[in-house]
Amino acid sequence: MNNRQKYDQAFMEGLSIEGNALGDNLEYNSIKTWDSVGHMAMIAELEDAFDIMMETDDIIDFSSYKKGFEIVAKYGVEF
């Protein structure tokens, strides 16, 4: 599984969504499951997938599927 696939899988697991829901329009609160609980679950999935620990500011800034690539890349993950 490459990093893009890991990233997508973490979103699908954390937010309980199908792959067709992923994309640049996917943002915090844009779907029912990306609420505060879903957000924390998805961050945990991403941290497990890439073996990273995000800083608090990045967790709060993680506002969309698109923005997430930029944040995760800060921890050495290449897409």
């Binding site: 915090y28 609160n29 609420d35 505060s36 924390m40 967790i59 709060i60 800034d61």
Partner: protein, 193 residues
């Protein structure tokens, strides 16, 4: 912003006022959904009781702050540090987002990160403690995300919606908190001197 004590990305924290108590604050602590996982909120609340609570905060070992949105200066909840022990330097943080339209957004995470920053940096505490109902998924994720260590459980201690549930007890020390907040590491080292 009005009299901010700590500023986050979506919310800021400030001293609670009589206006807060007379607003919707008292209603949050009557609301069934909001009080579901709070250990000591069985009775209906009132404006008078809220004002009494506000007055009781003077000279107590408890810090209570209003959570206010930066965007529109709306009072949406409260955070607190209770049982502050200035000798052993620990406290018990808590958060309640009372305004329902703000429960699903990033406000609780932002506000909780601020109260931990106050605990470890502004008040120079060493440890914070948590006590959560096991079936409360929001608290489970929150304590996990902030690196709390589970230290024990009280089995079948509380009754939630007619079913007995466990209380999970956790601790978070400053070093564990710093892993997600490395910009404060120098501050922490200096405070040890």
């Amino acid at each position: 912003m009005n009299n901010p004590y700590m500023i986050g990305k979506h919310v800021y924290l400030r001293h609670p006022t009589e206006e807060d108590a007379l607003g919707r604050w008292h209603e949050w602590f009557s609301d069934e959904e909001t009080c579901k996982y709070l250990g000591d909120r069985f009775w209906p609340n009132s404006k008078e009781a809220q004002l009494d609570f506000l007055k009781s905060l003077e000279n107590s070992n408890r810090l209570v702050l209003s959570v206010v949105t930066i965007e529109d200066d709306k009072h949406i909840g409260v955070v607190s540090l209770s049982q502050i022990n200035w000798v052993h330097r620990y406290a018990d943080p808590a958060i309640v987002i009372g305004e329902k339209e703000y429960k699903k957004g990033p406000y609780s995470l932002d506000a909780y990160s601020l109260i931990l920053k106050i605990a470890f940096i502004r008040l120079n505490l060493r440890t914070v403690r948590s006590s959560r109902v096991k079936s409360n998924k929001a608290s489970e994720h929150l304590t996990s995300l902030f690196n709390y260590t589970t230290v024990g459980e009280y089995k079948n201690l509380v009754c939630i919606d007619g079913k007995y549930d466990d209380i999970v007890v956790g601790m978070l020390d400053r070093e564990s908190w710093l892993k997600r907040n490395p910009e404060y590491k120098q501050v922490s080292n200096e405070s040890k001197i």
